[in-house]
């Protein structure tokens, strides 16, 4: 039947439908909806450089798909008085999303980059598709970064900051301590309704009919609007000012559904109803996230008080489960890696404490971590990169201290390996005599490193520039870092060499902005760590060290650089976002490998990604290119 219908459609309609089918979200849309698009479309041409959509055009009335060519988004950089490309939209991709959904003008000038044809539908056809096609609506909402951010931020800043748990977002709403809802009848004057809210110390009241069906909700925010906009006296029946038809969910819906619904609609309250749509409770945003602090804090405490190595080893799988759940709930990768690092730190500390109890070498030391652990960017795939910093007690030589500390460090390295921290192949470990040094020795080491580095040894040594104390006094490290940073700031040659080194790893995009694969053997593999994240980490490190930023975390470094005016704030945001998205895709891949029982690697095949993720990845790599360009310009490479 479907094919029969298809052959009745004009050739050009069929051709547009098959073009659309090659691209997301159209690939998952029904034929009837594709036909609706094709039949209501116009085809427009824009020559290279023509404006397609401008903030001056007013509210966006049209939705476009690039049929051929490319559109670029332009932003004027006022500081440097030049125009910058903020994004690119290529064949099969749609624009604008945020503006048409937000019914506002676009904020970015869209310009044709090369001769470009676009298919376009008017707002009413867009609305029809948006309301009738689920895949289309999902795509539009997911693609709208502001909206997506809102959903993410609300869920994450609440759930994750309060340390999201592995399962509480799966908890059915009925298991929540639903507050006995405060209700009133539609005819109650607003004044009395507010009095009732006040008495019960709540921010909302549900208006119900005689059968206890919720018909409206009135919140303190509505009261504020009512007064500010002078909608009527306080004797007005609440029915006239309530928000009718409040959002409701059945009691067996889970907290995540509720959170998504709230985030999507900007409601802070939801009605929970029974099978017959009768009100049984109200759940507020605060209720949802109150239950969450348990798991992480609890897990951290369990690790921190474990009395046996065995317990620590077994707790590692809980960490993995926690990460899994957080990723499944769309947690922000920057927060997830910090949480992993936090839990890893707790584990490392506990291993150290347990050994100190058994066999204290008797000399105070600071346990250092380098590289990704130093940057607080660990994922489940992690090596040990650690060292020891000590102050030589009076009357002892450095060698004598090492004699005592090295056997201890060896045990620690071995036990950490049992806990899942792979032994470092490059022997960057505290049990290595070259990395178990006094403050004076570390300082000498850095002097040699900074003054006599060659590009070759820089490749292997740059991880020492991302250093953090995990255990023991932090003051010695702080003093050391201050000296190191001061030296790097003064040494332009070292900075330039570091910058040159950071440019060695190019983001995996070809000239035509397709993915550049690793090599012939791994034809479809991208290394997300070395090709995707490393360009950010390394470029940001150069800027951070050159500007005296002490933190090692890449996202925090970028924030700090924006604060100091080294990065344009908008650039910094784009780069932070791009970095986080690559990290998120990498971590999701790790979880999938774990599920399949495979060894963790950083390789992915972009063909395995859904089209939206592929597009995100491509755009993220392009941001890495922009960051590297900034490095090139700054250091004239």
């Amino acid at each position: 039947m479907a094919s029969n219908q298809d052959s009745n459609r004009p050739q050009n309609t069929r051709a547009i439908m098959s073009f659309l089918r090659e691209h997301a979200p159209f690939s998952s849309m029904d034929d009837a909806h594709l036909a609706h698009f094709a039949e209501h479309a116009t085809l427009r041409f824009f020559a290279d450089g023509d404006e397609v959509l401008s903030p001056d055009d007013g509210v966006v009335k049209r939705f476009y798909v690039v049929k051929q060519g490319r559109i670029r988004g332009e932003r004027h950089n006022e500081k440097e008085d030049r125009t910058e490309t903020t994004f690119e939209i290529s064949r099969g991709e749609c624009f604008p999303l945020a503006a048409i959904i937000g019914e506002r003008p676009t904020r970015t000038l869209h310009r044709a980059d090369g001769d470009t044809f676009c298919l376009s539908i008017e707002q009413d056809a867009f609305i029809t598709l948006f309301s009738e096609s689920d895949p289309f609506r999902d795509f539009c909402l997911r693609g709208v970064s502001s909206l997506l951010d809102q959903v993410n931020q609300r869920i994450q800043s609440n759930a994750m900051a309060s340390m999201g748990s592995s399962n509480s977002l799966d908890t059915p709403l009925e298991r929540y301590a639903l507050r006995n809802p405060i209700v009133c009848s539609p005819d109650l004057p607003v004044r009395k309704a507010v009095a009732r809210m006040h008495e019960n110390n709540v921010g909302s009241i549900i208006i119900t009919d005689d059968n206890r069906h919720p018909i409206g909700i009135f919140t303190l925010r509505d009261l504020r609007t009512m007064i500010a906009e002078e909608k009527g006296p306080l004797d007005t029946p609440v029915r006239q000012v309530m928000t009718p038809d409040p959002c409701r969910l059945p009691a067996d819906a889970d907290a995540f559904e509720a959170a998504m619904l709230m985030a999507e609609h900007h409601f802070a309250h939801l009605c929970v109803v029974d099978d017959e749509q009768r009100l049984i409770g109200v759940v507020s945003e605060r209720d949802l996230f109150a239950l969450q602090r348990v798991d992480l804090v609890n897990l951290a405490r369990t690790i921190g008080t474990a009395t046996h190595l065995r317990t620590l080893v077994s707790l590692r799988s809980d960490v993995s489960r926690l990460v899994d759940a957080m990723l499944a709930h769309g947690a922000d990768s920057g927060q997830v890696v910090k949480i992993i690092t936090t839990l890893n730190d707790v584990t490392v500390r506990r291993v150290l404490e347990l050994n100190l109890k058994k066999n204290d070498p008797g000399i105070p030391f600071t346990w250092l971590t380098f590289g990704s652990e130093g940057r607080q960017e660990q994922t489940l795939l992690t090596d040990q990169d650690n060292g020891i910093l000590f102050r030589t007690p009076e009357g002892m030589t450095e060698e004598q201290v090492r004699e005592k500390l090295l056997p201890f460090a060896q045990t620690i390295n071995k036990e950490l390996a049992e806990c899942g921290f792979t032994l470092c192949k490059g022997n960057i470990m505290a049990s290595n005599p070259k990395l178990c040094l006094s403050d004076r020795e570390w300082d000498d080491w850095f002097i040699r490193f900074i003054d006599a580095s060659t590009p070759q040894n820089l490749v292997y040594s740059s991880i020492f520039l991302d250093m953090r104390a995990v255990f023991g006094p932090t003051e010695p490290l702080h003093e050391l870092l201050e000296k190191v940073l001061a030296r790097i700031r003064k040494n332009a040659l070292f900075q330039k060499m570091l910058a040159g080194n950071a440019l060695q790893r190019k983001p995996p995009l070809t000239m035509f902005r397709n993915f550049r694969y690793l090599n012939e053997e791994k034809k479809h593999a991208l290394d997300l760590k070395r090709q995707g994240l490393a360009p950010f980490v390394e470029a940001v490190r150069v800027f951070a060290l050159a500007n005296g930023v002490e933190t090692a975390n890449t996202l925090e470094r970028m924030e700090e650089l924006a604060k100091r005016g080294v990065f344009d704030p908008k650039d910094a945001n784009a780069w932070k976002e791009a970095y986080s998205l690559i990290q998120a895709i990498r971590m999701r891949a790790h979880q999938e490998m774990l599920d399949r029982g495979e060894e963790l690697t950083n390789y992915i095949d972009p063909d395995d990604l859904n089209p939206l993720d592929r597009r995100i990845l491509r755009e993220s790599f392009r941001q890495a290119q922009r960051l590297q360009q900034k490095l090139e310009v700054t250091y004239q490479l």
Partner: protein, 235 residues
Amino acid sequence: MLDYIKQWLERRRAGQIGAHEQDNLPAPKSAGDQLLSDSRLIVLDLETTGLNAAKDEVIAIGAVAISGGVIHLEDQFDLILRRPELDISETVLIHGIGPEALTQGHETEDALLYLLDWMNGDPVLAYHSAFDQKFLEKTLRVELGYTQQHLWIDVADLLPAFFPDAKTGGKRLDNWADFFGLEVSERHHAAADALATAELTLVALNKAGKEDVKTLKELNDKLRYHRRLQNMHRF
């Protein structure tokens, strides 16, 4: 498409549009001062049984409309004519139209009347338009006795007039389509070729706007000038 024609014919027979005659068909427009950016232009392509207008016949008509410099896909014409009496084996391979598709078609006369009504007397553009013009005019004359002349514009002239330096490697539709990187969904299908021709027309109209060619008359003058220039080169 066929449904549209059916509805249109029903309305026409019911007297809503007029009798089954030509009197109340829209009159062809001439190249006046109407702005290109306001005009409706028909871009048309025919599939025929062969190249000789004296003996060959039209099999399929595909056309799209450009209004306000934009192709409106809801305003298109895609029809296979009913020509059961013709031996079409010659060109069947090129067009992918088999005889069985043709017998499914509609009464030629009705379809042509609908076409004229849909064209609305607007200027007609085609690639190597002399060919399409000859065939369409002959068919309209033979089937309907219709003899009014539309304004025809040759897209094969339009493109070199605005892109004199383009190295297309040839003068065919394919050459220009390749030059601008167009994808033709199904070459030698009347509607698909019409759409490709219309896309090329959009490119030319974009350029025209930038060269201050604003009206249909100015466009026609430019083409005439360009043709004269070409002829001078020829001698």
